[in-house]
């Protein structure tokens, strides 16, 4: 494991170095509405709004009593746990998964559960003190300050607190004059000075929104270009290199070749294609299972004799790269009928060819499993495979535990994957020319 680290080629997924936009402003100045407007205008699956409300400190008994009688100062920077916020932002910036606390306004405490944020390309941090902490400022790509008339702010705040946070009008007004207004002058307003853009009139300000959107879009194009260029660079060094010994090719027996012939023949009927693909998939999964970890186990047979055999050390789960990977599921279930199965959807962008992560659902505790089979019937450039392995690694699965199972792959893709992740094993039935168009899933699902 250690010596392989030296030869590791660098790969950075598109969600590393996430673009973080900070939006600050007085309570009721339209920060959330502006954030939502930006999200809906961008219309991309990887834009996430992170509200600083999630980072309120859990209150002690005294604070809790005050909070319930509307005497606690939620509008002071002291109420916010900046340490945790900075830590989570740094994780996201590094491309890792971050657990975001859920704050209950009904109990004034953090709930046991968290929500996780993973792989956004754009993160909008929204809160009255989004531009307050120096450490946060250093992580921001764009700093926005929302401005609105004080009367507008107050009326919006009353409406929201009564309908969404279960407060009464009297309490809201008490809070406004005791805390919100003085704090605005002391802490919130000075953030104007560090802002890149000051947006008056919130969502009505279409010019400002368009400007922000254009800035983000330009950033995303740059990132996509960098990602594709990095993928291409990984390929240049790997074209002629010999394959890693962790690439396990099925022995090319007459049956394997015969099945391959039927599967690849354009004139094969759909019934035959599915039957033979399932049969080969079963064999591939059986072979993949040789790459998990076993320990010795002696059993007694009904004859009363001992047999010194083996047993797998822990649980093996699978992760299907959609849509193609689900063609492997029949084969998977023949070998591991109750296998926990995660799913992720990676699609290549039609225009740029860049692989993009659209959906992700993994078994809980996947990091504790002894083996994780990653299933995708076809690998050409290796972009989707790299991304999928990166997702597993980001979720705490050691690369040594990952077995990538594919029907066929090209040498460039194989070399890219095993150079970036030298611990990953690959099991496949055929090596084909590089950059073959994806067609297995079209045949298997007949559309």
């Amino acid at each position: 494991m250690d010596d392989s680290r030296h030869t590791r080629a660098p790969y950075s997924p598109p969600w590393a170095d996430v673009c973080i936009i900070g939006i600050a402003g007085s309570s009721g100045s339209g920060k959330s509405t502006l954030s939502q407007a930006i999200v809906s205008k961008l219309n991309l699956p990887w834009v996430v709004i992170l509200s600083m409300d999630s980072f309120y400190k859990t209150l002690d008994e005294e604070g809790s009593r005050k909070a319930f009688s509307n005497e606690y100062d939620f509008d002071s920077p002291d109420a916010v746990d900046f340490d945790v916020l900075v830590e989570r932002l740094r994780d996201l910036k590094a491309g890792k998964r971050a657990e975001i606390p859920i704050y209950s306004f009904a109990k004034h405490a953090r709930q046991k559960e968290t929500t996780s944020i993973y792989s956004p390309h754009v993160l909008i941090l929204e809160g009255i003190f989004a531009l307050y902490d120096q450490r946060v400022l250093r992580l921001l790509d764009m700093k926005i300050f929302c401005e609105a008339d004080a009367d507008t702010c107050l009326s919006r705040r009353i409406l929201r607190d009564v309908s969404e946070r279960g407060r009464d009008i009297e309490g809201c007004i008490k809070q406004w004059f005791a805390f919100v207004k003085p704090n605005f002058e002391r802490f919130v307003e000075p953030q104007r000075k560090v802002a890149d853009v000051i947006v008056p009139r919130g969502v009505e300000n279409r010019v400002a929104i368009i400007m922000v959107i254009q800035y983000i879009e330009r950033k995303l194009v740059e990132k996509s270009k960098d990602h594709r260029a990095a993928l291409k660079k990984l390929g240049q060094s790997s074209e002629d290199d010999p394959l890693s010994n962790k690439v396990v090719l099925l022995e090319q027996t007459p049956q394997i070749r015969g099945m391959n012939t039927i599967i690849q023949d354009i004139d094969t009927s759909s019934e035959d294609f599915i039957f033979y693909f399932d049969r080969l998939a079963t064999l591939l999964v059986e072979h993949a299972m040789n790459n998990v970890y076993f320990k010795e186990k002696t059993v007694e047979t009904p004859q009363g004799r001992k047999y010194r055999g083996l047993v797998s050390i822990g649980e093996t789960s699978a992760v299907v790269i959609l849509r193609g990977g689900s063609a492997f599921e029949t084969g998977l279930k023949r070998v591991l009928p109750d296998c926990q199965t995660g799913r992720l959807l990676i699609q290549s962008n039609i225009r740029t060819g860049e692989p993009e992560l659209h959906y992700l659902k993994l078994p809980a505790n996947i990091q504790t499993h002894d083996g994780v089979l990653l299933l995708d019937p076809q690998m050409s450039s290796g972009g989707a495979a790299l991304m999928a392995v990166q997702v597993l690694v980001d979720h705490g699965v050691p690369q040594e535990k990952i077995v990538f199972v594919t029907y066929f792959a090209g040498r460039i893709g194989l070399n890219r994957l095993t150079k970036v992740f030298p611990g990953v094993k690959v099991v496949l039935s055929t090596i084909v020319a590089d950059f073959e168009e994806r067609w297995i899933e079209k045949r298997y699902f007949r559309c």
Partner: protein
């Protein structure tokens, strides 16, 4: 009568893993016959065998794990059938120089345990014809006796996959091959698939039918005084069907 060979043990695991990281297990005994093919002793195969040998394994698990081994046996058995070169065009327009299967096949199971292998055969070969042979030990003579057979009419034109999971003395298998030969099946077109074999059974069979082939998952140490394979897995038919 009881005789056993020394049990061979070996470190098992993928080639890329250092020796010291591979666990040690008892592996199949080597036998000196060219027409006997043992499945590669992979850690997964050993783990599957460990599961079905364990007397504490319940029937549902026994059925599932033995089916997985049977499927691997069938896949290996099919490799011994003839193929011819055949080039095709793929959906993306590339040519693939492949092979095409030649000849017709059928299965013949030796009742009752051999019938347990039929599902595995069907998993690999849809709508395959399957004949049956019932051979029982004669109570008086202690020799195997043919009680019943029902075989495909054109069996003489087919390759035959003979199915019986436990290959102990080889008495039943030898009788079954004699039956097949009497129906006109050439010896070299008979493949005998079994899960666990004894060295004695293999020797008897391989010497008598040098042109037939045996495909087995594991050659065990030997036979006990009751002619059961040891360490074995008990009575396969009982564990699969009734216990």
């Amino acid at each position: 009568m009881a005789s056993t060979t020394k049990e061979p043990s070996s470190r098992v695991g993928p080639d890329y893993r250092p020796e010291k990281q591979k666990p040690t297990a008892t592996v199949s005994t080597e036998v000196p016959f060219d027409n006997v093919h043992t499945l590669p002793q992979t850690p997964q195969l050993i783990a599957l065998l460990t599961m079905i040998r364990d007397k504490n394994t319940e029937r549902a698990d026994f059925i599932f794990y033995s089916n997985r081994i049977i499927r691997l046996l069938v896949e290996e058995g099919l490799n011994h059938l003839p193929v011819v070169e055949h080039t095709i065009t793929t959906p993306v327009g590339r040519d693939y120089a492949g092979v095409m299967f030649q000849g017709k096949i059928c299965g013949v199971s030796i009742m009752r345990a051999g019938e347990a292998m039929e599902q595995g055969l069907r998993d690999c070969c849809r709508s395959v014809r399957i004949g049956k042979i019932l051979i029982q030990r004669d109570e008086e003579t202690c020799l195997p006796k043919l009680f019943y057979d029902k075989l495909p009419e054109d069996i003489a034109d087919r390759w035959v996959l003979l199915l019986d999971p436990m290959f102990a003395t080889g008495g039943s298998a030898i009788m079954a091959v004699d039956v097949l030969k009497s129906r006109g099946v050439p010896e070299n077109r008979i493949l005998f698939l079994n899960l666990i074999a004894s060295p004695q059974g293999i020797e008897n069979f391989a010497k008598k039918f040098p042109k037939s082939r045996v495909v087995t998952a594991f050659v065990d140490q030997g036979l006990d005084e009751k002619n059961y394979i040891v360490p074995g897995l008990g009575d396969f038919g009982d564990r699969f069907y009734t216990i």
